[in-house]
Symmetry: C3
Subunit: 350 residues, 3 copies
C-alpha cells in the first residue's frame, strides 16, 4: 500500500478537530492496533479493544472524542466522533489514490466490433472483446480480457475487473462492480432424459443485474431458460457463488461466498445468506430472510425468517436440536438406566 499522509492531511481527511500529540514523519500504512508499527495509522473501532490502545505501537490512532487514554511517546491520537466512520473516510481517500479511474479510451490490443456502442468516456483495457451490438456506458471501466458478448450491455460507471465474461444479450446496470473471473450468462443447467439420452434444453433467456449490484470473484450467474435471471438493485454477491437459471433475487441482499441458489427460486429484498449455504429450486423466500452458514433451505420461507441447519429450520429450534444432540450420549445412558431400574422394580413387584 504505497500511501503517505502527513498528520495535517490525515486530520483533514477524517475530520478530526482534536489532535492529541505531534508528529513530523508521514503515515504510510493502516493496521490493527496489535499489528501497527510507528509508521501506521490504527483505530479504536470497538470499545472492547480499548485496553489494546496503550500497548499499540501505531504512530497515529483514531479514538473516540471521549476516550480517556493518552498517546504514548511519539504517538498521536486523532479524536473523532466515530473512529470506524473516520477510517472509512480515510480508506476512500486511499482507494481513490491507489485505484484512480483509468482514462477513457480503447487499448489497441482490444477487439471492438464496429457494430458495438462504446461511450466516449468508457475505458476498454488490453485484450478486451466487445461484440456486435454490445453497449458500454459512459465512465464504465473494463480492465483487461473482459468479454462483452453480442448485444450485451454494461451500464454507466460500472467497473468490470479482469477476465469477466458478460454473455450475449445480458444486461449489467449502472455503477455495478464485477470482480475478476465473474461469469454472467453461462447456460443454465437444463436437461431432460429422453430414453437413453440426456438432452440439452436450450437456454435462450438472459441475465439482468440491476444498478449497484456487486459480484465477487469467479461467481457464476446462469442465463434463464427463457425470460430473465434477475439480481435486484444494490444486492451484493461474494466470491464463488452460483446463481442458477431463472432465479430472481430482490434488492439489497447480501450473499456470502460459495452460496448456491438453485433454479427458478425467487428471493425477496434485504435477505442475507451465510457462506456455503444453499437454497433448493423453485422456492419462494420473502423479504429480510436470514439463512445461516452451510444451511440448506428446502422449503418456502416467509418474510423475516431466520433459519439454520440442513434441512433448514427456524434458528431457535435448530439451536435446541444441536444442543440436545450433544447430550445424546447422556440420554442413551439415562434411558438404559431407566430400563434397568424399571426392570428391577418389576422383579420386586412380582
Amino acid at each position: 500500500m504505497p500511501v503517505s499522509f502527513t498528520l495535517a492531511e490525515l486530520a483533514r481527511h477524517v475530520g478530526a478537530e482534536v489532535v492529541d500529540g505531534d508528529r513530523n514523519r508521514p503515515i504510510t500504512g493502516v493496521a490493527s492496533l496489535s499489528e501497527a508499527g510507528p509508521d501506521d495509522l490504527s483505530f479504536l473501532g470497538n470499545p472492547k479493544y480499548a485496553s489494546e490502545v496503550a500497548a499499540s505501537r501505531a504512530g497515529v490512532i483514531l479514538v473516540p472524542r471521549a476516550f480517556t487514554g493518552v498517546p504514548s511517546d511519539g504517538q498521536v491520537f486523532l479524536r473523532v466522533d466515530s473512529p470506524s466512520y473516520a477510517l472509512a473516510l480515510l480508506c476512500s481517500v486511499i482507494e481513490s489514490s491507489l485505484w484512480p479511474r483509468p482514462a477513457p479510451g480503447v487499448h489497441p490490443s482490444a477487439v471492438v466490433s464496429p457494430l458495438a456502442h462504446v461511450a466516449a468516456g468508457a475505458h476498454v483495457g488490453p485484450h478486451c472483446l466487445i461484440d456486435a451490438g454490445a453497449r458500454v456506458g459512459d465512465g464504465a471501466v473494463l480492465e483487461a480480457s473482459v468479454h462483452v458478448g453480442r448485444d450485451a450491455s454494461v451500464g454507466a460507471g460500472s467497473w468490470i475487473k479482469s477476465g469477466v465474461r458478460i454473455g450475449e444479450y445480458c444486461q449489467v446496470g449502472a455503477r455495478c462492480r464485477l470482480q475478476p473471473g465473474v461469469v454472467i450468462g453461462s447456460e443454465g443447467f437444463g436437461y431432460e432424459v429422453v430414453g437413453d439420452e440426456v438432452r440439452r434444453i436450450p437456454q435462450v433467456g438472459t441475465v439482468v443485474l440491476e444498478d449497484d449490484v456487486e459480484v465477487g470473484a469467479n461467481s457464476t450467474l446462469d442465463r434463464a431458460r427463457f425470460s430473465r435471471t434477475v439480481v435486484g438493485r444494490g444486492t451484493k454477491i461474494d466470491n464463488l457463488v452460483q446463481i442458477a437459471h431463472n432465479v430472481r433475487i430482490g434488492a439489497q441482499c447480501m450473499i456470502a461466498a460459495q452460496v448456491g441458489i438453485a433454479g427458478s427460486t425467487v428471493i425477496g429484498d434485504r435477505c442475507v445468506f451465510g457462506g456455503q449455504s444453499g437454497v433448493g429450486g423453485h422456492l419462494t423466500l420473502g423479504d429480510r430472510v436470514r439463512v445461516g452458514a452451510q444451511a440448506g433451505v428446502l422449503e418456502d420461507l416467509p418474510s423475516d425468517s431466520f433459519v439454520n441447519g440442513t434441512p433448514a429450520l427456524p434458528l431457535g429450534l435448530e439451536r435446541r436440536i444441536v444442543v440436545l444432540s450433544r447430550r445424546l450420549p447422556d440420554l442413551f445412558k439415562k434411558v438404559d438406566s431407566l430400563a434397568a431400574a424399571l426392570d428391577s422394580l418389576r422383579k420386586d413387584a412380582r
Copy 2:
C-alpha cells in the same frame, strides 16, 4: 432476447395444427404464465398451473390439445400434444437464431502455433492461444481467450466458451460444450509430507472428456497423477464443480453445481448428484446412484443407492433421523418425566 415470430411461424415451429384465436402483431419474447405480457408466448407445461392460464396476459399460450379453457380477448392458444416439448422446439429455433455458429477461421489476434492442427472448418476467436501439437476438430468453436495447451485436443463440433483453459495433453471429445472459465487439466492436489516439508507430487496424467460432455462455468477438472481423469460420454456437469485427479465418472451422469468429487473415486453411469454434495476419495459408486444436495458420501455405494445427509445414509433412514431429531426436545422431556414417575413409583414401593 431480440426475437420476433409471426403466429404462422410459431405454429409451424411448434407443430401446432389447432390455432385458437387470431393475431397480427409478432411475438417477441417467451415468459411464464404469470410474467408474460401481450407480446410474449407462454405455455402450460404442468397441469397444476392450469388456473393461471385464465389470468395470463400472454399473447400466445401453448396448451395441451384437450385443454378446456378459451383464449381471452386478443389472445391466441396454440394447441399441441406436449406444450413442454413444443416449447423446447421453439427454443431450439430461437437458439439457432440468437447463437448462430460463428464462421470458420482464425481471428488475427489469436496466437496459433505453426505446429498446431486447426481444422479448416473450426472457428478460433479473438485472443485465443493454440499451442504446438494441439488439435481443434472440424466445426469446433473457440469463442475468445481460450487456451488449448500443447498436444491437447478439442473434438469436432465442440463449443468452447470464453476463457476456458484446456491443459497440455488433455482431450475434449466431439460435441462437448464448455461454459466460460472452465479449467480442464489443472494439476491434481498431490503432496507428501517429508519431515518438515510439504512436497509436491508431480501430476503427469491427463483429463479425457468423452463425446457430448458438458461442463458449467468455472468448474475445474484436475489432471491425473498419472494415467487419466475421465468423464464419460454424455455426462453433464454444472457450474463451480470440482473433479479431482484420477476420478473416473461414467456416462450420462448429472452433477449439479458446487459438487466436489475427491481423488481416485470411480463413479458408474447415470448417477445424479445434488448441489453442493461431496464424495470422498478412493470410493466406488455403482450405476444410477443418487446423492442428495449437500450430502457427504464417505463409503462405497452399490448401484441404485439413493443417499442423503452427512455422512450420507440411505434416504429412508436419513429422513427418519431428520424427523426424529426435530422431536428431540419432546424426547428429552418425556425421558425426564419417565424418570420422575419411576422415582415416585419407587418411593411408593418402599
Copy 3:
C-alpha cells in the same frame, strides 16, 4: 502422455539395481496395476494390492526389493527400496520432459508497461498484461492471459498458469505455483448498512503469498480491508477455495477443494482442512488443527484440535453423536415401550 523410456532408462531414473526380466520395447505410459497394459509401467505402492501384481498386464512393475512374486512372461520387475518414491522420481523426470520450462522472453502479443520490471530470465506468454510498477522475478513463468496488476509482484521461479489475475499491490513469493483462473486480490466482501443503503467499505489492503505457496484452479483470495491477507510459506490450497479478506494462514497448511475461510480469521501452521469445510470469521485456530470434510467451524480451536461436523465438535464426540443419531429410531421405540411398561406397573400398583 507422449513419453517413452527404455528399460535401462527406467532403471536409471528410479535407481533400481535389481532388474527381474528382460524387455526391448519402450515403456510409453504409467498406470495402476489393474489398468496398465503391456506398454505401461505400474507399481506396488501398498502391500494390500500385492495380489493384483500377478494379474497385472503391466510391462514393467516397480516392486519392493523383498517382494516374493515373479514377473509373468514378457514382464519386468524393477526392484527398489520404495516403489512410491521410485515412481515419484520417475514422474519428476516425466514432468521435466512434458513441461519444459519455457524460454525467457516476452511474447509480442503481451502488453507490458514500460514502468514494469520484468527480469531477463522471466517468460511472459501470449496476451499477458503487466501493469506499471509490477515486478516479475527471474525464472518466473506467466503462461498466457495472466494479469499482474499495478505494483504487484511475482517472485523468482514462480509458475503462473493461464488466466490468473494478481491484483494491484499484491505479492506472490518465490517458487509459487498458481493454477489457471486463480484470483489474487479481489476486493473483500465488506459492506455496511446505512439506513436503506448497503454501502461498500473500500478494501485497500493487499494479499501476500509467501514462498512456495501453491493455489488450485479458480480459487479466490481477497485483499484485506487494510493491511494484508497472508498465506504462509509452503501452504497448499486446492481448487475453488475462498480465502476472505484479512485472513492469515500459517505455514505448511493443506486446504482441500471448495473450502471457505471467512474474514479476519487467523490460522496456525500445518493445519489441514477437508474438502468443502468452512471456518467462520474472526476466529483463531492454533497449529496442526485438523478440520473434517464439510465441517463448519464456529469457535476458536486450540492447537492439535481435530474437529468434524457442523457446528464442528471434537472428532470423538462428533463420531459418537453420528452413531447414536442412527439409533434414534430404536431409542424412540424403547422410550415408548418404557412408558407403556411404567404405565402398566402403575396400574398394577394401584
